[in-house]
Structure formats: structure tokens, C-alpha cells
């Protein structure tokens, strides 16, 4: 079953009177439980693609279905002056996605546990699911670090906390944008292992954006972008 179906996705940025096609008529699908790596040179449209797939941004034209639910209909958003509001996009993000970024974006005054639980705060889940929290931290090897501050962690540990934060609300799709970009090769391998385990043992769909071809190889499929178009799939 396809969890992501993208059809004719176009994203246009205007630079003065010039139109720049960051995504140009992109169509593909991702099956549930797959890892899909998105590679390409800088400026090829990788981040724009995952931003649209992850509902951080509207496409200009095209349609997108997540888990069978039509998120962006096959509409010309520009012509019809349509745009999803921040609130609508946030509600979709809450339902389907967890995000990992190159920078870890941990809040320095919150403990590891509090950082992991942040997404629950915004879903008004006032009772902490301690079992889930412990399971996730155990799986990621940071269970003994729960009461530490981010400043007391190594880079690899910080990225594990960011992964735990992305997983706490049980997302169906994990979007990882250059997750090893700030880590040395040893820590990168550890994160690579973790992503594979997550996919294998918890059946989480992972969309992985990376420059690192070794890391990209963990994908069941690889989408290579060039100038906003799919070069190889």
C-alpha cells in the first residue's frame, strides 16, 4: 500500500520577474515501511521536495496523498490563489510526520526527557506515556541521559534525542533531512543503524535526504534529483 503518492508536483519560486522551478513535474510513490533516499547536488530541489512531502510548504501545482488522504488536490495553487493555512498544515504534520534535521534544534534549558516530550505538549497530552518514552530512549541508547541537559551530550547523543523527539507521537513517516550532516563517520554509522532498526522493527516509513551516498544506500529506493526533476528513481 502506498503511503505517499505525489503527482505532477511543481514548486515555483519567483525571483523578481523570473520564475524558478524548484520542483518540476515530479511524480512518485512510496510504499508503507519503505526507506526512500533523496539525493542530488545542492540546489537540485531535495529539501524543497521533502518540505512539500512533509507539509512544511504548499506545492505550486500538483497533488499529494498521504496514507490515502488527499492533502493537496490536483490544483494549480498559484492560478487559483489557494494556499493551506499554517494551522491546516500543522494539523496534517501532527497526524503523519516526525522530523529530524541536520541541526538538532534541542532546547538548551530543557532536559533530554523534556525535549523528547515537546511534541506531546502541543498535542495537549498532559499525561506522559512513560512506557513509550522509556521504550524509545532504551531503543536509542539514551535512557540514562533523560535528566541531562543537551549541553552535557555528545553530537551523536543529541541527534538520538532529536530522533526520539520525532518518534514520541508515533508518526507514520519520518522525514530525515541530512541527519548525519553534523556528525563524524562513527556517529553517522550509529545513526544509520538506528534508522534501519526503526524501519525494520517498527515499520516506520523513512524519507531520507542526504549528500552521503553510503547512507543513501540504506534506502529501498533512491530518488536522484537534478534541477528540480527526477533524474533516476
Amino acid at each position: 500500500m502506498n503511503i505517499v503518492e505525489a503527482n505532477n508536483l511543481v514548486k515555483i519560486y519567483a525571483r523578481g520577474s523570473e520564475k524558478i522551478y524548484a520542483l518540476n513535474n515530479i511524480s512518485f510513490s512510496i510504499k508503507k515501511g519503505e526507506i526512500v533516499s533523496v539525493i542530488g547536488q545542492s540546489g537540485s530541489g531535495k529539501t524543497t521536495l521533502v518540505n512539500v512531502l512533509g507539509c512544511l510548504d504548499n506545492p505550486s501545482i500538483g497533488s499529494l496523498k498521504i496514507d490515502g488522504q488527499e492533502i493537496f488536490k490536483n490544483t494549480d495553487f498559484v492560478k487559483e490563489n489557494l494556499k493551506f493555512s499554517e494551522i491546516e498544515l500543522t494539523k496534517i504534520r501532527r497526524k503523519f510526520f516526525g522530523y529530524i534535521f541536520q541541526k538538532f534544534f534541542l532546547i538548551p534549558t530543557l532536559t533530554v526527557k523534556e525535549n523528547i516530550l515537546l511534541p506531546s505538549v502541543f498535542q495537549k497530552q498532559f499525561i506522559v506515556d512513560e512506557k513509550r518514552l522509556n521504550d524509545i530512549t532504551e531503543m536509542l541508547g539514551i535512557s540514562k541521559r533523560q535528566n541531562h541537559l543537551p549541553s552535557q551530550l555528545s553530537g551523536g547523543e543529541m541527534q538520538r534525542v532529536a530522533i526520539a523527539r520525532a518518534l514520541i507521537n508515533n508518526p507514520q513517516i519520518l522525514i530525515a533531512d541530512e541527519p548525519t550532516g553534523n556528525l563524524d563517520s562513527k556517529r553517522s554509522s550509529e545513526i544509520q543503524e538506528l534508522l534501519l532498526n526503526l524501519n525494520k522493527n517498527h515499520n516506520i516509513t523513512i524519507i531520507l535526504v542526504t549528500h552521503n551516498l553510503e547512507l543513501a544506500k540504506i534506502g529501498n529506493s533512491i530518488i536522484e534529483l537534478f534541477d528540480g526533476q527526477i533524474k533516476k528513481n
Partner: protein
């Protein structure tokens, strides 16, 4: 964890900046509570002093009404005198219940305070004055035994200042005579506390003012028409009629301009606090631009971000407000000394009366001001687009 804890922990990131903002709020709250307390305390003390006089109307020799008002309450120099015969004339009126004649005399005492000060002697009639002021109780002794005798009664503070008890002798300045202390009054919270009382006849004799008075206090019968009686008194030549209501109005007019200045200062302090809060919170929003974007990517709605920032503001103001109120309670004596130094006339008793109502009003006022200052940064933060924040390099 909830957004209150999140907001609180955000404030701990820049402890020094947060502390300075809180100090600004403490000062503003302190100023506001003190001024509201002063507004209430001053009027209460003035009313207390006026009620404590025991009469509704005072006659003095014709002169400046401001001087007359000051004379009533504080004593003063440049006294004017009226003939003693006025007592009989006034007593003749059917509206009058009782009168009491007084002669005030002021002498400069070079040994009082650092630069010397004025000692005020009040000559009173022991038959009528105590009746007019039944609340005057004695800590020691009693009133004078006779109408003309070398005896004195000291108000509570005067006794403490002069360090005298009953039986002690005390030199009366300007007379070279020593008088025996026969009574010390209990504290009343009025100007009587600082007064030195002598028999009226004695004051007239030793200061060479025979047949002269500075004041005549008049208490009217219950059903008497005060305004109509005042009109009658205006017909008396060279006499100034001062009703207690007039005294109060006159003094309130004197201090009203001072009040305008202090309330303007409070307003400016409030504005400074508001812009301090705005600046602190806005800076913190700019610094957390990417982080706020990430929070939104993780599922925070614009209203969640708005609430986080506004709660941060409210927390800053609550902490500052509570400490400011505690300070205004703890240091009301210091504030009172400063206010007494600047105002032309201050009644006896506590000038700053801070109660629960003033504390609550001030607390909510500072939170309201803070929240007004926090609205712009909160709106700015809630409008940050996650995509823009993630893309930015800051």
C-alpha cells in the same frame, strides 16, 4: 511538561537579561504601590488630624488662609492675634455648643535636630480643651490643676523627644522659667503627639500676650446649620473663619500639584517597564527564530507560540510585581521619609497606607502593562513560518 514550564525555562536562558527586566518591573511596581498607598494614606491621615481637632470651625485673626490652615495643623511662625473678647461674642450664639480658646507660641530651639527647629507651645483652657478632645488619654499624670500655673503637659512624641516624665522640670524657651511636667499623653496619631500644652493664662503672661488668642475652636450643636453660622461669623471684623472642610480642601489643593508630578513619574516608570518587557521578549523571539520554527514543524499552532511568549511576559511581570509589592511593604518607612521631605505639608500618622486592595490592583496593572508590551513579540513569533526558520542560517 506543559507550556507554563516551557515558558519558565525559556526565561532562564538569559538570566542576566531576565534579571534586569525583572528589576525594572520591581521598581515600577514599587513606585505604583507606594503612590497608591500614599494617595490613600495621606488623605486618611489628614482626615484623622482634622477629626482629631474636636471642633468644626476655627476662628483666627484675618490673614492668609493657607497660613491659617498650616497653623491649625502644624503650628507656625508669623502668628496673628485676635482679642479674647471674641469668645464671649461667639458663645452668645445659640448654635454654639462649646468653644475653646487657644494661644499658640513658637520659639526657635537651636538644639532641636541638626540645624535647630521650632518648638510650639499651645496655651489651652483646661476646662474646655479636654472636653473637646475626649480621646486624649494620659500615659502618665493628668491636666494642669489650675488655669494659671507653671505646669505643662507633653504630647507622646514631645515627651520622647524631650526625654521627660511627670515630675521633671522643663525650661520654656523665651521665658527662662522652668515648668513641672504634670502629664504625658498617650499616642494619638495626630499633631497633638508633638505638642507642649500649657495653661492659656500662663502662656499669655509669660509671652506678654495678655487678652490675646491665636485660635478659637468652635463645636456646634447637632442640629445647627454650619453654613448659616459661618455666614454670621464672616460679619465679625478682622476675623478669619476656617471650617475644617476648608482646611482639608486647602491642604489637598496644596498637595495636588505634587501628586500630579509623582503620578507622572509613576506613568513614566510604567512606560519604561513596558518597553523593557517588549524589548526583552522581542530580543528573545529573534534569538529563537529557528527554534520557534522547529516547534511549529513539530506541531505547535500559532496560538501555542503566541501563548508561550505571552506566558513568558506574564511570568516576568508576576515575579517583578510580587517582589515590587513586597518591597513597597518592607520599605514604606523609607518612602515615607522621602515623601515627607518633598511635600510642603504632611499630616501626622502613616502617610503610606498599602492594603490588600492596592496590592491586588497594582499586581494586575503591572501584568496588564506587561502583556500589552508582550503582544507584539508574541504576534511576531506566532507568524514565523517553520520553513523560513529552518532555511535561515541564524
Amino acid at each position: 511538561m506543559n507550556i507554563f514550564q516551557l515558558s519558565y525555562k525559556n526565561l532562564l536562558r538569559r538570566k542576566v537579561r531576565t534579571s534586569f527586566t525583572v528589576i525594572g518591573i520591581i521598581i515600577s511596581t514599587w513606585v505604583l504601590v507606594t503612590l497608591l498607598g500614599f494617595n490613600k494614606g495621606y488623605e486618611n491621615s489628614l482626615n484623622n488630624d482634622i477629626d482629631g481637632m474636636g471642633f468644626q470651625i476655627v476662628l483666627t485673626a484675618k490673614g492668609c488662609p493657607y497660613e491659617a490652615a498650616t497653623l491649625m495643623l502644624k503650628g507656625g511662625t508669623g502668628l496673628r492675634y485676635m482679642p479674647e473678647e471674641i469668645v464671649k461674642e461667639v458663645n452668645f450664639a445659640e448654635e454654639v455648643d462649646k468653644t475653646t480658646a487657644m494661644l499658640m507660641h513658637a520659639e526657635f530651639d537651636p538644639n532641636k535636630g541638626e540645624n535647630g527647629g521650632t518648638i510650639v507651645y499651645l496655651g489651652i483652657d483646661p476646662d474646655t480643651y479636654p472636653e473637646m478632645k475626649p480621646y486624649l488619654n494620659f500615659k502618665q499624670g493628668n491636666w494642669f490643676n489650675e488655669k494659671s500655673v507653671n505646669e505643662i503637659v507633653l504630647g507622646y512624641e514631645a515627651a520622647e523627644l524631650e526625654q521627660r516624665e511627670i515630675g521633671d522640670l522643663m525650661l520654656i524657651l523665651g521665658s527662662e522659667l522652668e515648668f513641672k511636667v504634670v502629664g504625658v499623653l498617650n499616642r494619638t496619631g495626630t499633631q497633638d503627639d508633638g505638642m507642649i500644652f500649657l495653661p492659656l493664662k500662663t502662656v499669655q503672661e509669660i509671652f506678654d500676650k495678655k487678652g490675646e488668642l491665636t485660635m478659637l475652636g468652635i463645636r456646634l450643636k447637632r442640629d445647627a446649620d454650619i453654613s448659616a453660622f459661618e455666614e454670621k461669623l464672616y460679619e465679625l471684623p478682622d476675623i478669619q473663619v476656617v471650617s475644617m472642610a476648608q482646611v482639608k480642601n486647602t491642604i489637598m489643593n496644596l498637595v495636588s500639584s505634587a501628586k500630579v508630578i509623582v503620578f507622572s513619574i509613576a506613568f513614566i516608570a510604567f512606560l519604561i517597564a513596558m518597553f523593557g518587557v517588549l524589548n526583552t521578549v522581542l530580543m528573545s523571539v529573534f534569538e529563537r527564530y529557528q527554534e520557534i520554527g522547529i516547534l511549529k514543524a513539530m506541531g505547535a499552532l500559532p496560538k501555542d507560540i503566541f501563548n508561550i511568549i505571552l506566558i513568558e511576559t506574564a511570568l516576568l511581570c508576576s515575579i517583578g510585581g510580587i517582589i515590587g509589592i513586597i518591597f513597597s511593604y518592607l520599605f514604606s518607612n523609607v518612602s515615607e521619609i522621602a515623601i515627607r521631605h518633598f511635600l510642603p505639608f504632611t499630616p501626622s500618622g502613616s502617610l503610606i497606607k498599602v492594603d490588600e486592595k492596592i496590592a491586588v490592583i497594582s499586581f494586575f496593572a503591572i501584568i496588564l502593562i506587561g502583556i500589552i508590551g508582550g503582544i507584539y513579540p508574541a504576534l511576531h513569533a506566532s507568524n514565523i513560518r517553520p520553513l523560513d526558520a529552518i532555511r535561515s542560517d541564524s
